[in-house]
Amino acid sequence: MSSVRVLVGTRKGAFILTSDGNRSDWRIDGPHFGGWEMYHLKGSPADPNRIYASQSSGWFGQTVQRSNDGGKTWEPVGNKFAYDGVPGTHQWYDGTPHPWEFKRVWHFEPSLTDPDTVYAGIEDAALFRSTDAGASWHELAGLRGHGSGPHWQPGAGGMCLHTVILDPTNPARIYIAISAAGAFRTDDGGQTWRPINQGLHSQFMPDPTAEVGHCVHHVAMNPARPNVLFMQKHWDIMRSDNAGDSWEEVSGNLPTDFGFVIDIHAHQPDTIYVVPIKSDSEHYPPDGKLRVWRSRTGGNEWQELAAGLPDRDCYVNVLRDAMAVDSLDSCGVYFGTTGGQVFCSPDSGDTWTPIVSHLPAVLSVEVQTLP
């Protein structure tokens, strides 16, 4: 029988949650790396036992952990992220030039085909790649070298490259997103990049439709339809049907279109999920009710999902990498909150149950579907 392994990164360690395909009886394993911030853990699609984990601390900086046995044991690997050449400057919050400085790894994206190849999205925003299982890291400098780099500016959480999406049909195509620069795409394996932000409208910018500067919170793609992307922007849910060349808003009837996460059903490319958050100054659900909203029409028409979710007094957030889906026949949807809950819906969002309720603040959730 198939099983699932949920990789949870929190402010104070990592947890691994496992269940059989029923997804009703869970084993909780952890904390791993207790006391450290675990921004992200992700397994290799080519070898599910290979997992990469970002471990960081305000005291000790960045460490990278690698597991070759599905998270039972770990070993530290390379943690040197040196920008290519002279880093130069980007804009600081006040608009003044600020040197590029490595702070942490926000996201690992393992190759779809090679367990030893993995991409790292870092703060200050850049994309790195390792081809030796994390032992060494090299910047794909064409991204930061894009002419707009000196104009990128951090969002409130820092200038992070938080989203990396690999096109399963075209190994040369990679999408990334940066807060607050926007989304970018390469079609030549990372040598050159171009911003893909046409159609985004960000009121806080001097030019709301500028080529870069948009605070993109997350982007999702269903591998079966790689030219269609869905985006949770600072405000607005956006959709692109042409690999990011242009975007249209599909927020529709959502109670608020501010939020951080967005994800797509494993088998239904037009079924998407978001967690509306009240506003950019009030990072909690409207009316104290934690809700997932689902669109079965690729946006615009949204349905509130409430069964099993808190109906009152809930003032948590769901951060940008803290939602994931499994690929079992009945698609499971998962998300974690800053209140330390991890919820699972084994029926595509119809009903929800907390797997665990009292973890440290959840930073990321990833799911592996195992044979």
Partner: protein, 99 residues
């Protein structure tokens, strides 16, 4: 023999004992001790001092013989009691609060 005491998180990361013993050829400086420490435990590289600049990470301090030597030159000789092994070099994580 130089004795180095690591903060708890780095002891766990390096799977080392509370006190690490290192052979460091003279002149015994902070820089030389950290080089030897990172050679023995490569996973500590970047956790005590920055990979590129070799600057001490802001929330760490170096204590020796009841003195804070964090602002001494890394190229300066360590106190004789540390060089002889009578006293340890302490690497301390700042009591910095936070979430």
């Amino acid at each position: 023999m130089i004795r180095v005491v690591l903060p708890a998180h780095l002891r766990i990361l390096s799977k080392s004992d509370a006190e690490v013993h290192l052979e460091v050829p003279p002149p015994v400086t902070l820089h030389a001790v950290l080089d030897a420490l990172e050679a023995r435990y490569p996973m500590l590289a970047g956790t005590i001092r920055d990979h590129a600049t070799q600057q001490r990470r802001p929330f760490l301090r170096f204590f020796a013989c009841s003195e804070d030597i964090s602002h001494e030159s890394p190229a300066a000789p360590l106190p004789p009691a540390v060089v002889s092994g009578a006293e340890p070099l302490l690497i301390i994580g700042a009591i910095a609060g936070g979430a």
